[in-house]
């Protein structure tokens, strides 16, 4: 894992001192709210419905035990004993007092963490595949690239006041676990026919009110050209991007309005000039960064105990079936800890749970933890012989829910339970769907299914990318929930299609249930997933299940 240099430490410390003074001046009345708001947002501090919210960056979702424990301490000392992990691989605290935030930021700096650039019209926290460095299908670990981008983009003067926020994601596998095509810039590390490492570059993806999939800008960018090339993209966006209308200010609109060919030719022209400005220092820096992401020393040990427990304990077996993924070392596994216990808030962990995860990571996981954009926590390197012990420890902490990739593994934004922008609640819908299908004991029969819920059009809950997406809106003074179908956030990405009119708060769970029963009837085999069935059959039979009365009227 990357550790801060003296430069990083000094930078964060000075920013914290600066923000402490800004908070003091706001409270004294020397700064108006209009003056203070952009300053607090640059430091991740929002004002929500019931309280301030502090969004803390977890670069590319990577943590260790010490950092996770610090988050637990912050939750206990300055918040309400829990934290909320987000779809940007960040963590949010929902209840800090303004006067405590400078102390929280100092506490974070003790463990090389901060909240800088988690808000505002700048380059945001760079996300990456949460299986980075562990996935069996990986060409190269994407985290050194993500860290290089983090260092390049942090406080970059040219890109501190973009037309709108700007999000990067990096993956190193063919399997896309980071929703690459929903990002302003998506980078896929690939190996070309000649065996050279480079990047496939996507640009102009984004969700929100105008969802668009990223388009391929470069089929293969040599690895050494990364920074001058992405800098060229940002410069073209900064010059061409609209600033007259915030809803048309994201690069997805710039690409859409100008066309990908025009953007490509402008970027290439800029790149030809920009390339010379990078004299190789960036590559020397990258080499140092890569050294800090060296893989752990994997050990060889018999895995008999793991296999025996799988055979003797069906509950353990169920956990291993859903929550383990293939590791590149045959004796190791990637273990996903579900933060989606049925009926609980997706993405929330108590301070006790954070400490339990820190402990298992330190004892059995080479001291590595990852946050996924799906709001779960990953132990990327667990030897299979340790899985029974890890499982027992997680079980004691209420962290052994066996539902990864199933219907209750729902993404939900905070929605109107917390967020000032929300138009409806998300969390209770997620809780009710999870509880309903748990009671029906149908979850495992349904199989792979991604439900994603957003409480407003801004789509923090990625509803467009859900196999079933739910968007909460206000309609005639009450909450109303629109369903989209057929979204996919992986390498076969697609944007979900709106199914029809919205459902009331007390109708939406039953609507989802009708949809699921229809799928179970329609699928041609138990292993045909909801998404596969939808792609084979189209929307008509699913809409008929959602709107039976319309169907009857039409007949």
């Amino acid at each position: 894992m990357y550790s801060y240099s003296d430069f990083d430490r000094n930078f964060v410390s000075r920013r914290n001192q600066q923000f402490r003074a800004q908070v003091a001046r706001r409270i004294e009345g020397a700064l108006t709210e209009d003056e203070f708001k952009p300053l607090r947002l640059m430091n991740g501090l929002y004002l929500q419905l019931h309280a301030y919210m502090l969004r803390i960056a977890i670069p590319y979702g990577t943590l260790n035990g010490v950092k996770m424990r610090k988050l637990a301490d912050i939750a206990d000392r300055w918040d309400k004993g829990y934290g909320h992990f987000t779809t940007r691989q960040n963590i949010q605290f929902n209840w800090p007092a303004l006067t405590d935030v400078p102390d929280i930021l100092d506490a974070l700096a003790e463990v090389d963490m901060h909240a800088i650039q988690t808000s505002g019209n700048c380059i945001r926290n760079v996300t990456a595949d949460h299986f980075a460095g562990a996935a069996a299908d990986e060409v190269m670990d994407p985290r050194p690239t993500a860290e290089l981008l983090r260092q390049w983009s942090t406080d970059h003067p040219e890109f501190a006041f973009l037309g709108r926020k700007f999000k990067f994601a990096v993956i190193g596998s063919e399997s896309d676990r980071a929703v690459l095509q929903a990002h302003d810039i998506g980078l896929q590390i690939i190996r070309n026919a000649g065996g050279d490492i480079g990047y496939r570059v996507f640009v102009g993806g984004g969700l929100g009110r105008t969802p668009m999939l990223g388009k391929e800008l470069r089929e293969f960018l040599p690895a050494a050209d990364l920074l001058p090339y992405v800098e060229s993209i940002l410069q073209v966006y900064n010059a061409l991007g609209r600033r007259d209308n915030k809803y048309k200010a994201r690069i997805k609109i710039t690409v859409h309005e100008n066309g990908i060919e025009e953007i490509r030719s402008k970027v290439e022209a800029r790149f030809a000039l920009q390339r010379a400005a990078f004299g190789g220092n960036d590559q020397r820096l990258l080499a140092d960064i890569q050294a800090s992401f060296a893989p752990p020393a994997f050990v060889s040990a018999p895995i008999d105990a793991f296999l025996a427990r799988q055979n003797s304990d069906p509950v353990f077996r169920s956990f291993t079936d859903t929550n383990l993924s293939a590791h590149r070392h045959p004796d190791y596994t990637i273990l996903t800890i579900s933060l989606k216990a049925h009926g609980q808030t997706p993405g929330d962990a108590t301070s006790a749970q954070m400490r339990a995860m820190a402990w298992v990571a330190e004892q059995y996981g080479h001291d590595e933890l990852r946050i996924s954009h799906e709001q779960n926590v990953i132990l990327p390197h667990v030897h299979k012989s340790d899985v029974p012990t890890v499982y027992d420890a997680l079980h004691k902490a209420g962290l052994a829910t066996a539902n990864i990739g199933l219907i209750s593994d729902i993404i939900a934004c905070p929605g109107m339970d917390y967020c000032a922008l929300a138009t409806a609640r998300s969390i209770p819908i997620a809780q009710q769907i999870a509880t309903r299908f748990d009671e029906l004991a149908l979850e495992h029969e349904i199989g792979a299914l991604k439900i994603k819920i957003s409480g407003c059009i801004n789509a923090c809950g990625h509803h467009h990318m859900g196999h079933i997406g739910i968007l909460g809106l206000e309609k005639r003074g009450v909450e109303s929930y629109q369903i989209t179908l057929g979204g996919d956030g992986t390498q076969t990405a697609s944007i979900g299609e709106r199914a029809g009119p919205g459902f009331a708060y007390d109708e939406i769970v039953s609507a989802v249930e009708r949809l699921i029963y229809a799928y179970l009837d329609l699928r041609n085999a138990p292993d045909e997933s909801f998404l596969a069935a939808y792609r084979r059959l189209g929307s008509t039979p699913f809409k008929a299940a959602l709107y039976p009365s319309v169907q009857i009227a039409a007949e």
């Binding site: 709210e33 004002l47 419905l49 309280a51 303004l98 006067t99 808030t345 339970d417 009450v478």
Partner: protein, 101 residues
């Protein structure tokens, strides 16, 4: 025809704590039940101007639709504002922690 004015209360977030506060007879109060209900646009606008001048206490004051309950206490009518009077629905946090609800 001019639009009919619907009754309003005046609300904001507390600068230091961040929680919802309401314009009451003697300054800001923590509960909507203590809020003043404005029946005229003139009185509501005047209060909003006064509230805007109290930037050391309140952030982002605005008027919200409201009505009087049977017992004479005011309450906001929009569901967003109702949520602000109690707190989130997933935990008993926020104002509902203190309230007898």
């Amino acid at each position: 025809m001019p639009q009919t004015f619907s009754p309003k209360l005046l609300t904001a977030n507390h600068l230091q704590r961040g929680d919802a506060i309401y314009w009451a007879a003697s300054g800001w109060a923590d509960t909507a039940a203590a809020a003043l209900l404005f029946d005229t646009e003139a009185s509501a606008t005047q209060a909003l101007l006064q509230a805007n001048a109290q930037a050391d206490i309140a952030v982002g004051p605005y008027l919200a639709d409201a009505a009087l309950a049977a017992d004479g206490t005011p309450y906001p009518t929009h569901f967003r504002e109702v949520f602000r009077t109690r707190g989130p629905s997933n935990y008993t946090h926020g104002k509902q922690e203190q309230a007898d609800v």
